[in-house]
Symmetry: C2
Amino acid sequence: MPLIFWLVPLSSLLALGFAYYFFKQMMGEDEGTDMMKTIAAHVRKGAGAYLRQQYKVVAIVFAIITIIFAIMAYVLGIQNPWVPFAFLTGGAFSGLAGFFGMKAATFASARVANACRTSLDGGLRLAFRSGAVMGLVVVGLVLLDISAWFIVLNIFVTEPDMGMKLLTITATMLTFGMGASTQALFARVGGGIYTKAADVGADLVGKVEAGIPEDDPRNPATIADNVGDNVGDVAGMGADLFESFAGSILATALLGAAAFVGTDLQMNAVIAPMLIAGVGTMLSIMGVFLVRTREGATQKELLKSLGIGVNTSAGLIVVFSLVILYALGLPNYWGIWGSIVVGLLAGIAIGQSTEYFTASAYKPTRKIAESASTGPATLIITGIGTGLISAAVPLGIIVVGITLAFGFSSGFAYDSASLNMGLYGIGIAAVGLLSTLGITLATDAYGPIADNAGGNAEMCQLGEEVRNRTDALDALGNTTAATGKGFAIGSAALTALALLAAYFEEVKIMIVKFLDMPDMLINGIPAADAQFIDFIHHYDIHLMNPTVIVGILVGVLAVFLFSGMTMNAVGRAAQKMVDEVRRQFKEMPGIMEGKTEPDYARCVEISTKGAQKEMMVPSLIALLIPVVVALIFGVAGVTGLLVGTISSGFAMAIFMANAGGAWDNAKKYIEEGHYGGKGSENHKAAVVGDTVGDPFKDTSGPSLNILIKLMVMASVVTVGVAVSYSLF
Amino acid sequence: MPLIFWLVPLSSLLALGFAYYFFKQMMGEDEGTDMMKTIAAHVRKGAGAYLRQQYKVVAIVFAIITIIFAIMAYVLGIQNPWVPFAFLTGGAFSGLAGFFGMKAATFASARVANACRTSLDGGLRLAFRSGAVMGLVVVGLVLLDISAWFIVLNIFVTEPDMGMKLLTITATMLTFGMGASTQALFARVGGGIYTKAADVGADLVGKVEAGIPEDDPRNPATIADNVGDNVGDVAGMGADLFESFAGSILATALLGAAAFVGTDLQMNAVIAPMLIAGVGTMLSIMGVFLVRTREGATQKELLKSLGIGVNTSAGLIVVFSLVILYALGLPNYWGIWGSIVVGLLAGIAIGQSTEYFTASAYKPTRKIAESASTGPATLIITGIGTGLISAAVPLGIIVVGITLAFGFSSGFAYDSASLNMGLYGIGIAAVGLLSTLGITLATDAYGPIADNAGGNAEMCQLGEEVRNRTDALDALGNTTAATGKGFAIGSAALTALALLAAYFEEVKIMIVKFLDMPDMLINGIPAADAQFIDFIHHYDIHLMNPTVIVGILVGVLAVFLFSGMTMNAVGRAAQKMVDEVRRQFKEMPGIMEGKTEPDYARCVEISTKGAQKEMMVPSLIALLIPVVVALIFGVAGVTGLLVGTISSGFAMAIFMANAGGAWDNAKKYIEEGHYGGKGSENHKAAVVGDTVGDPFKDTSGPSLNILIKLMVMASVVTVGVAVSYSLF
């Protein structure tokens, strides 16, 4: 292994070290008054209880899947024998990242509220650095897992042919993404249902029926609501991006091994994405230290503070990645670097478009607010119309992005070799976009921490000045959450496309190496000698093959079915919460008088159980569809399936995230005093829109991110089924 | 030409003859009281004014496009020289069909209301036979246009090689579908915006603000609302299915010419779809005569009456199509017949699933009604969730359908010859589904006629008994409208897939015949000798080609953009109507007292202008995207585009149609006295859902039907651009 590779494990250890440092630093701060401590403890306990319950269920699922993989590998011989282990570590590390991130977030909220009693700058820095714990743990654990496996496999994979060896190693490592995907699926779907069931329940009965604020301690669902922010936005988002980060690096490594097979540069092409991610991580740590602000800063200044950290890291990675590519001696390094820049620009552009379509400073959200004047129906129509249109923009950005990312790396040529280089370019664009994830994820995780700090301040009735500070931090959190979602979706789309390209490489490795059929004729050529393009022709993955069309239709089907089921799951889980809150108000009249403490734990339990119950069916569908399609329609059908899911799932995810975000902000815009302000008929209409938007933006939309990556991953690890057993 | 072909023009003349007969018969009935005549005249005048205005705009668009085609054909030499003419006749015939159908519908409404003063049976028969005018005119004109062109081209196309001659003829004829598509686009989008702008305006101000019924003569928008039913549901639906009927027959003829090229059976394979459609039309005429009922019939009995007509025709075509295929001596005629049966069964199954998801007799709609108890937000969430899930079912049906339709005709084999046969099978499945369109379209057009009759009865305050009868007919119309929408969408999807397959045949004909490059190397073989599969490999339309992926993403982009724009168009147009109705109530206080007649004409004008203005941008986008993609990404990009649009557009269309239908019926279910009944809070929530559903089910959803077919058609006629000028 080249010496430079060791930067990757080093960056991983640095990330984990600084995460620990920020965590310790945060734990050293004071948690404030007794009441603040109590409230925080409630939330922490609820979040912990949820995570334990979730991990129990997930552990069972992992056990079953591991056994299936083991049978496939050791009994049927249609599976890479490393997969069961890779699968487990991927899942375990992702789970660990979620655990630490949420731990940090739940310990931080009261401390941030307390810091805001002194100064805004202190509050911002504490909240942001607590978010950075999450960001750095995620990237640190991904890089640790990747480094460890890469070292281990380089020792244990015995393959005389070096080209084949690296292909085998990278193809094996890619399957570790399956563990991360599975973990992420349950985190996003379960967390998404949890948070919205609690939110809708707290809103509908507490706010609308009883007329008390959302964060009022008399609202029995308020703790569950705060837990939900951590469960959905911290743990869910973390698992989602853990998977994108890992998936993009691993897919690109495999695509690099394929593009440079038989050359001296193969190893360098394989470690290039790891190095870029490693250096990006170090730059992220540096960026975290740049975030600070002055007392009484405006919203704009606060945003600028965060921007300095994020943009400095991103700007430097552009420079450093060129250095890395040059140092590795890759041919056409200017072109490959161009692809990285394209990836970064695409991410920024998608973030900007998200802001344009969801922030009340711009026309679309204001139009939605305006349409409240003719009632909730027209507000919903305008929101859906605008949301649908808004999906076209990131789609357009990705279209331009992959055209250029492919074109720069391939030199805009199109033959078998250029095809491989171009696909490598798409992969490395995804790595570029995600390279500074350490800090971008910190800005995401910051949101719910600030939100919870605000909740804590509200419940503990801290002074107005403190509340103004937490409100300022919270408002900033809403903006970062919206752009964070755009970033998550954009990176998921690019990662999924890179994974899709890697799928066909997996087919080849499976046939040649693990099914041990190097003489199988592929397009008339023995598999061992067959080119990428031969596999494409052999499997007829073209658009006049009805199997491919059928696969694409099933992919679209999966997206609509999955979105619909997660929407309805929230509806059902929320209904139970509504019933429980109503029951408590009725049976314990002391609650409203402030004499009796409501049974917070019962609401937490209901959300937990509801989420666990409701997440199973959609999750199983997501896991089973690729296998069923593989069994019936084979490789061509699966390829179609993935394309159908990625394309329509991406669009649907943006539509839902943006429509939801715009309704939320249209409501806030009215609450700021426009179009009649709080309590007006227009405001009521806007609350309806906001409630409809809740499962859009926090459950179904983000879950689709996982769906599109998981389907590819599930196809990658079951490629032996598609190759060996398909009906058509 | 074989003698049996003459059955096609014969069936066309029979259809037109009976349409004239039913029309005359209807015109001979009495229109009732003076007031009934006046109201009907208002609606007729409004509808006529709209259609004139619409046709003016469309004429300009047609003139421009014809000139472009002429330049392409005669200056640039990249167009089939027949296209400008074929394009014009397609558009003109479709326009004629819309004109006659709407004429019949608007003359019928008062007569149906009057017939209901005597008996239910009389009303049903009159309404249904007036609807049959539309159905028979549509199929008659399609078959007339097809017959005429087939005869003319057989005389004028001079081609020594018979195989090439029939390929050229069928490829030329297919482009006549472009005229029909363009006409349909404006009819569906314009009509859809018109009808919902009027409806939402009439509801929001009339019903909600002024508290008078929808059909109250004091409501200034009521005439516009009734006009809208004719404009959207009659003319729009007619143009939509005109295009599907023509497209499925023509695409299948071309696929037949390709599959049987060089054999004696080529001519027979080409005329097979025409014959099946012709015989289906004769059976439809017979079916119309079977529809009758008894006085005091229940809803179920009424539905059964219609069912007898529809099902007898469908049952007989199953038998006759086997006879036709056998008589034509086609090989594997059992298999091809199997594909036809699959098409018919798929149509029925999609209709059933539509009914299940939208009728209040079943769980999904009742669940939506139930969720009204927690307010409009949860009702909307449940409706969207259920709508999304409901899209999965027809997708699944189409997946099974095309697998079997392809499999039966190809013998479940997969080589170059079987591929051609299989695609022919998919085409003929679409023809099977649409063969008895004459009568199924009659049941669709019946709906708005019954609705208008009810409106007329309400406005003229006819007795309760009469109103009960028109209500019974109207309720039946709602059911046939929902299943009719399912049928339209299902047939659009199958037709679009057949057209997609035909697209690649067009590429070949264009290169060999019109670009006159028979020696161009296709996959290493001179184009004239190249097989279908060679073109596939030459153009690399596989899923690892980024051009294809980009095309697919643009296809999805088009669907989301188009849906969003049509949603917002309704919002804007409705807003203008709301303002006008408010103005009239304010400035003319005599209206509410019943002393002053409201200015109906002004509302009609606003809807007309609004629709004309708002339809332009989405329509141009639909027309331009295929050309832009052809210019940049060439044949591979266009193929991707079409697949992306068809797959996601189909799903989106069903989602929108079903969610809208379910909200509508959930509202009606509550109005029947469930969950609090009319005027309750639950009812108010349901009204919000219904209003949101209006543009879903009557504007955006149906417009997507056209979009998916039009994009293919536009690609077919601009294939010369993709082949000659593409950037990549």
